[in-house]
Symmetry: D2
Subunit: 349 residues, 4 copies
């Protein structure tokens, strides 16, 4: 049977969430996120962020969350700066443009942006005498980890923050895989830092152990007026909102969110190291749950006999000619045994 | 302890859905609705509709579904006709307008529209020499049951169909509570009729036993080009799409959807009859799971000691002066015992 | 030959504007409203408003202006309150909804709104426990004169202002026919009052003597950030912007705007009085350039032999049975002789 | 006194248009483009296009026209392919995104696109297994002349047509400066070819002799349902629509449109040749009214003493180090004498 490393949303959810769903199933609660589970989950997240006054809102999925937050933060003449690999630029079916806003992509090597290039883009805009005819850069969108598994450092994010504050635009961090980022080896970022370095971010549940669900954190609770109505307008206000609350309760009441992310990272790094030991190159230097080894087609074929994974992109013309970067994803559900089998297969290549 | 009749989404989901969630939790499936559960659920629904070629798509919630379908069916200069009580007109935070379209409300007595009034509205529009400066009526939205629990008859819906076909506009039926409508005493509408009488409709899961989920049925599978991309754009394409599929599998593999709706209707009608026996009037004549008795404030207060329910609207100045129509909702989770207790309390008023 | 009273935009423009166009035709100026004519016109308007710090922007037409201002003033979850007869609600092809915002109509007798009903609507909204699921009232749109030729008084407008300030929403006044309003007999409103009583308004050129053009006045020049970019985005930034500037120069350098409006009002009131003397009723009590007598069909037919005018609406079932309210419009181009002929025809009915 | 070559919209309009405005000023016509002047202008354009059944609509400006046509041609999940220098991508303040659609830019050397690169982009899209999560390419936007003055050939445009038909997407040609393109030396494209090679295009008036105005031509008059309502919705339906009609009457009744464009091209090419004779390079090979010589800063400074023109872009680091490509524009209003003076100054550099 094929062992799948295609994505981090292949299975349902961590068993403890299922148990909680069953245990609470007959509780009667008010709808739309006004319930004790959402309240407690928000408190747990505020505590984890050391941000007692932050606002926490729960939405169902990432595209919805991005569109809602971005639409809430921009004025109609503004667009959102992001890496050209940013999820909102490539894989959300134009959800941002559907709210009326242009995505303003900047080139990136590995999925992250530098303060230098954001500053340069803003400087170029404000130096352009025709800028009144252009979309104003109104906010910065970054992903952490990026779509390529790479990470910002505290220094890098702080530098972005300085630039954005100088130009008066908010930073929004897409944390679809935030757990993996915050537990990666060597990272110096944690939730309390994000409170100071971002104007808005979300803690991804869907890809980090939940059935679904993303927790938007607004360090300044007054940043977005009418946010719940905006969530409703975008179709993101779940009727049985407590389902979101209780999942984040489970994830945050004793650190499960971080434990399962750290586990997935460990398995991913074991896979990465196995490829490196065999001399394969990596497309990106990722310390998180996505790994991007570059493999010749025949090795891909051999691995595919027993494992599934994603083709990511063709790599440039080299000695091997027909190389692909492929993506291996781990998650809470990846077992040590599954990883062992993959590593053994890598070693046999 | 208070017994709640506030809404039909107070609890989690029917226990069999929970069981299925647990049983399938570790299956590895592709995301975004391309999985065996969604495929099988779609087949079951097609079978229940006697519509082997219909397209079936699964979305998370009702507002999202309405916005996605309506945006997909309208051209930019068009608006959607609906009853002024229609959910899209009053309780979706402007989700339809956020997609660029005007809602064109018509007055209604009980939440339903007649073919006569729709025809009149269309005739008025096409007779207006200034109509090029107006929003074109581009489709008809109806709710079945309506927001007031009332129902269309086969004759009424057929007549709407005739008018709409004459003017070349599609009918979309919001079935947030469709189960209750299709199992109501005396109804002559069933799923196969909807296939012939509507261009699009959805089978509501959220309010009919599921944790969440709505199944859009398009009798003509080619009606909407690129619908999955549109769902993604509106933020409705669930990453772990199989969660939607497996819920509808449970609901449709042996008629559970209809059984639980019929149960809820029975409890609701028992409540209705109890009020009628005591001489209370009803705001609407509903055979479904929502009941709207008109009560004086002191009776409301007495019932509220042990039961919760919604204030719906103040009624006109009558003998009692301070009367409210209130709403009692039942669901799959309402037990006969809970209903018995409420009926007893009504009898003691 | 038919003398036309159909509308106030039948002819080109006041001859002095044509002369100015010719005199300035070969001047070379920068585009998009950054030119000496726009600068001077803005100064003249600021002077006429006694508002030295107001911002003045020039757009081409009314629908464009309304959509641009309203989109600029609302947040995405907000809608705009207006009379149900408001131009934005009925005759702008859904331009407001196309920017994502719901129009929130209130009933009106004569085209104007009262502070009482606006307050009541706002109170109802803020008292509704489900208001998070509704479109938030984010601003007030009024027309002065209204689409029915009727006027606000200083008292009436001040009362609206008090309500709006209490609820923190701006007032925007559509002045498509503002000249006629400000020169109507008995009015106690003038431009300087509008500066204090509105957050934004426009001085209509198209219907008041110009070829085209509307001057938006923002008493607080910082009210709308990036307004020129918003105008461009909505397609309202005229390349040869000076055409707008020079028309408003002509209209405001020695009071021509008011002279021609007063002239049109005088002719309109003579027509009104002629109808009244013959015992006809008026649909609205308009002191401005639009008059709405109620005529039986046979009288309409007789007048149509020599004059054209608009059918406005059928009136209720009365003695005459088949009565219509019709609309007669005058403008700068209506001559005393044309009016004399119409009056004579009325007297001969 | 400075002679200006900054743009082609520095002056008012061709004197014959002014005369016509004066001659028709007191005519009474219906509004919104339903008048004899628009009808006759449309006929003249249909004749010039050898397209007796084409639909012709008049709008005020280019951004408005682009947004209206593009919004009319796309379904909500679709975007518009264009050159990354395309006006809609860079200088329209996000007008396309404001209608909900993503602009899909392709790289370009000189402002034009090749069939090869469009085909490649479409192939890449349809080969992508994740394409359901991406914006669908729904149409092609090209500018002729491009923003850099360059032109398509009949062969090049035909090849684009073949690709677009293969993928079922329409071609829309932005003809803001179409006159200059159609009269350029060596072009093999004329209006009748555009009828066969485009699904929609507009004949620019604003930059080609009119005060303002753009004529949209739809070879298939049924291509866009409800187009007049869409124009109104976008704020482009001029109340005194005849102003648009009569300008295009003057431009097309005896070929004035082409005469003045050819004149401007001749003056522009004389300027180009003068620069070339002196050994300056050109950024683009333009046969139309915009010329882009590359000049060292000191030469720019000397020319600026007597002439104005636009800085276009810095050129790469070469021998001269501080070079700029600048833009010289001619128009109907550029006299031979003005050009002579500029050429003399060039020769004296």
């Amino acid at each position: 049977m094929i062992i799948r490393f295609d994505s981090d949303y292949l299975e349902g959810c961590h068993p403890r969430i299922l148990e909680r769903l069953a245990a609470t199933n007959l509780e009667q609660t008010q709808g739309y996120g006004i319930d004790p589970h959402c309240a407690r989950a928000a408190d747990l997240i505020r505590k984890a962020c050391s941000a007692p006054s932050a606002a926490v809102h729960f939405l169902v999925g990432g595209t919805q969350t991005n569109a809602t937050v971005i639409k809430s933060l921009l004025r109609p003449q503004e667009g959102v700066i992001c890496a050209d690999t940013g999820h909102i630029n490539v894989h959300e079916s134009g959800a941002i443009e559907a709210t009326g806003h242009k995505v303003l992509p900047l080139p990136t090597e590995d999925g992250t942006l530098t303060a230098g290039q954001v500053r340069e883009a803003l400087q170029e805009f404000y130096a352009d005498p025709t800028r009144e005819h252009r979309v104003q850069p109104g906010m910065l969108y970054i992903s952490h980890p990026s779509e390529n598994g790479t990470l910002y450092t505290r220094e890098g994010l702080s530098a972005l923050r300085v630039v954005c504050q100088e130009y008066g635009i908010p930073i929004y961090l897409d944390g679809a895989r935030l757990g993996y980022g915050l537990t990666a080896e060597g990272t110096d970022l944690s939730l309390p830092e994000l409170i100071w370095l971002c104007d808005a971010f979300y803690i991804g549940g869907t890809k980090c152990g939940a059935l679904f669900g993303e927790a938007v954190v607004l360090p300044d609770p007054n940043l977005i007026r009418g946010f719940r109505t905006l969530i409703k307008q975008q179709g993101g206000l779940l009727a049985k909102g407590r389902l979101l609350g209780l999942q984040f309760e489970v994830l945050f009441e004793d650190g499960l969110y971080f434990d399962i992310a750290a586990h997935a990272n460990r398995q991913a790094c074991r896979i990465r190291d196995a490829f490196c030991r065999k001399g394969y190159e990596l497309l990106y230097d990722s310390p998180t749950n996505q790994q991007f080894p570059i493999l010749p087609e025949q090795d891909i074929a051999r691995l595919q006999e027993r494992f599934s994974f994603e083709h990511w992109q063709k790599t440039g013309p080299g000695a091997g000619a027909k190389n692909w970067a492929v993506r291996f994803c781990t998650s809470w559900a990846t077992t040590k045994e599954q990883t062992d089998k993959l590593i053994q297969a890598i070693e046999e290549l």
